[in-house]
Symmetry: C2
Subunit: 341 residues, 2 copies
DNA sequence: TTGTAAGCGTTATCAC
DNA sequence: GTGATAACGCTTACAA
């Protein structure tokens, strides 16, 4: 049975209060007392009970990270950075997967507030902004939206400029001389914002270049998996007038597309150029290596954790929007031939 | 301010005890009472404070999953399955990364017991068995070892038969006629067990086939990353008598090796056959697709969670070793030419 | 079947 | 500077 404050107090012949002060590194404690208490602490191998402390202070020191799927490389790399950034500030991270389930997203948000197993939520949602607003009144726990979402005005928010990122990617395909540029990742029947913004950027680039847009060149993808990318690319290649470039809304979709093009007996980038978004490690070693838009996840994670901790410390702190930088990374899949890691 | 049990009790004009009974779904409560309480609960939107409940019962409903790096596909896929399996049994999962840091592993294990932020630890360690034994006396919290470790006898343990898996992989390379079979992943200066067991299996297969072993054909890898695999394979290809097959101790190493062979102007599997272990999704779409040994992570996760929950419910339950099945998956990198997902 | 009250191990508010 | 002591919100003997 672990020793308690009282045990230590009895042993050192002081009051509980004094022990607590010493343990919590509190202000004014005489050196003599401190030493006496320290010794008792060591002898009993006392460790404070975080639960009791939490019940008293209302702080758990735990952050929740909510993502659709932790095994998607973008999210696992983000989780890695979030856990590290949180540790830096003395927090631990609990991970929940929503599995593309709106109901579960809502439950985590609305149910989570009272249970208080964590001090704040870092939420990488699929849910639309309207739904977030709707559930807002129930939620009082500090919340930071993270990833790629339109700024809402009611929540802290860390993201890249999605429209611009998509535009940059598409523009790069235009710059290397492609004219029949397809896109994979639109989700017409869902109200997610990220895909819509990326579609906007894609269309904007095409329009600015005077290239006509063609609805048949835009393939939806439900889960942004390799399999989805493979499937969509295969359909695109079967088109009478097949594309000479594909912009994928995520690197994972691009990995599937890469393989589909190979299986169709075509070459990347000669026949079809490919670009993605995320800059996952996998794309640095694929054949060919993948051109992409890099997202700076360490920065996103660090900013998000900093924001949530600030809000935990002061719930009234002003809501902020952090726009993370993005950068075009050109690799073999759009023309460069050297292997660059 | 969230409503408490007392608030509900006052409102419904009953005692705290009765409210608690209703909320906890306790045995005998009259229908009238139940209804009266339910209504008050709804009106005040009461949700039990898990922290207080925890302080009282000593259960947090949280499991810790400790892995070296969450962004390594094997671990993120494992995490996905663990989170799902845990949710099934009413537990949530907190994830910690040790980052290959022995000191941090030890701290998590020894420091974790008294802090009680979780009910049990699922530990996928790098640390050697000896070190685990050494820290054992300090640790009283339920612990399940998970992944690929030698059975210890003091801890529950879920893993594949590593020696056998490595042997099967190597045997497959022998079966397709390869004779100069290299290995990537040994860690001679560390006391990790998984690599050693895999080396044993590798050597056993070679010996059984009457193929001589050659120390220069065994390349170490410190982090099992794509970059490590790339580096090691590059060195192997520079050997005067280069290998015609490479057994990689993880799929991620294999992905790096695949690229290295391509960059060296050689072909897989014609010049060099490649096989890994883990069966990560990436290997189903790579060029070529990757032959591997599949590990059944859902099974491992489900068994591990079941074991830890059993031990939480009864600390005296007998220690068990669960050997998860593994299966050879043959894809293009060792000869098959069709794309199989 | 329901009410009363005693903790769980801290922190924080008083006094001294 | 230190010592009692009251919460924090809940579960659970023990009574009624």
């Amino acid at each position: 049975m672990p020793a308690t404050l009282k045990d230590v107090a009895d042993r050192a012949n002081v009051s509980i209060r004094t022990v607590s002060n010493v343990v919590s590194g509190y202000a004014h404690v005489s050196e003599k007392m401190r030493r006496r208490v320290k010794q008792a602490v060591d002898e009993l191998d006392y460790r404070p009970n975080l639960l009791a402390r939490t019940l008293r202070t209302g702080r758990t020191g735990v952050l929740a990270l909510v993502v659709p799927e932790i095994d998607v490389p973008y999210f696992s790399e983000l989780a890695r950075d979030v856990i590290n950034a949180a540790a830096e500030l003395g927090y631990r991270v609990m991970i929940d997967q929503t599995g593309h389930d709106h109901a579960r997203e809502r439950e985590l948000l609305t149910g989570g507030d009272r249970t208080m197993l964590f001090d704040g939520i870092l939420f990488s949602p699929l849910v639309t902004r309207a739904e977030l607003l709707e559930m807002a009144p129930h939620s009082t726990i500090p919340l930071v939206l993270l990833g790629e979402h339109e700024f809402d005005g009611r929540y802290d928010h860390v993201a890249i400029d999605n429209l611009r990122a998509a535009q940059d990617a598409t523009q790069h395909l235009i710059d290397i001389g492609r004219t029949r540029i397809a896109a994979i990742g639109e989700q017409p029947f869902e109200s997610y914002e990220t895909p819509h913004l990326r579609t906007e950027g894609y269309l904007a680039a095409l329009n600015a270049a005077g290239i006509g847009t063609d609805p048949t060149m835009m393939k939806p993808a439900t889960h942004y998996s390799r399999a989805d990318g493979y499937q969509a690319a295969t359909e695109l290649l079967a088109l009478p007038d097949r594309p000479d470039a594909i912009f994928c809304y995520s690197d994972l979709l691009a990995m599937g597309a890469l393989r589909a093009i190979f299986d169709a007996g075509l070459s990347v980038p000669e026949d079809v150029a490919i670009i993605g978004i995320d800059d996952i490690d996998e794309g640095k070693f694929s054949r060919p290596t993948l051109s992409t838009v890099s997202l700076d996840t360490p920065f996103i994670a660090q900013q998000a954790v900093a924001r949530i901790v600030a809000r935990i410390d002061d719930p009234e702190v002003a809501v902020e929007e952090v726009v993370a930088p993005h950068a075009l990374i050109v690799r073999e899949s759009t023309g460069s031939s050297a292997h660059s890691a």
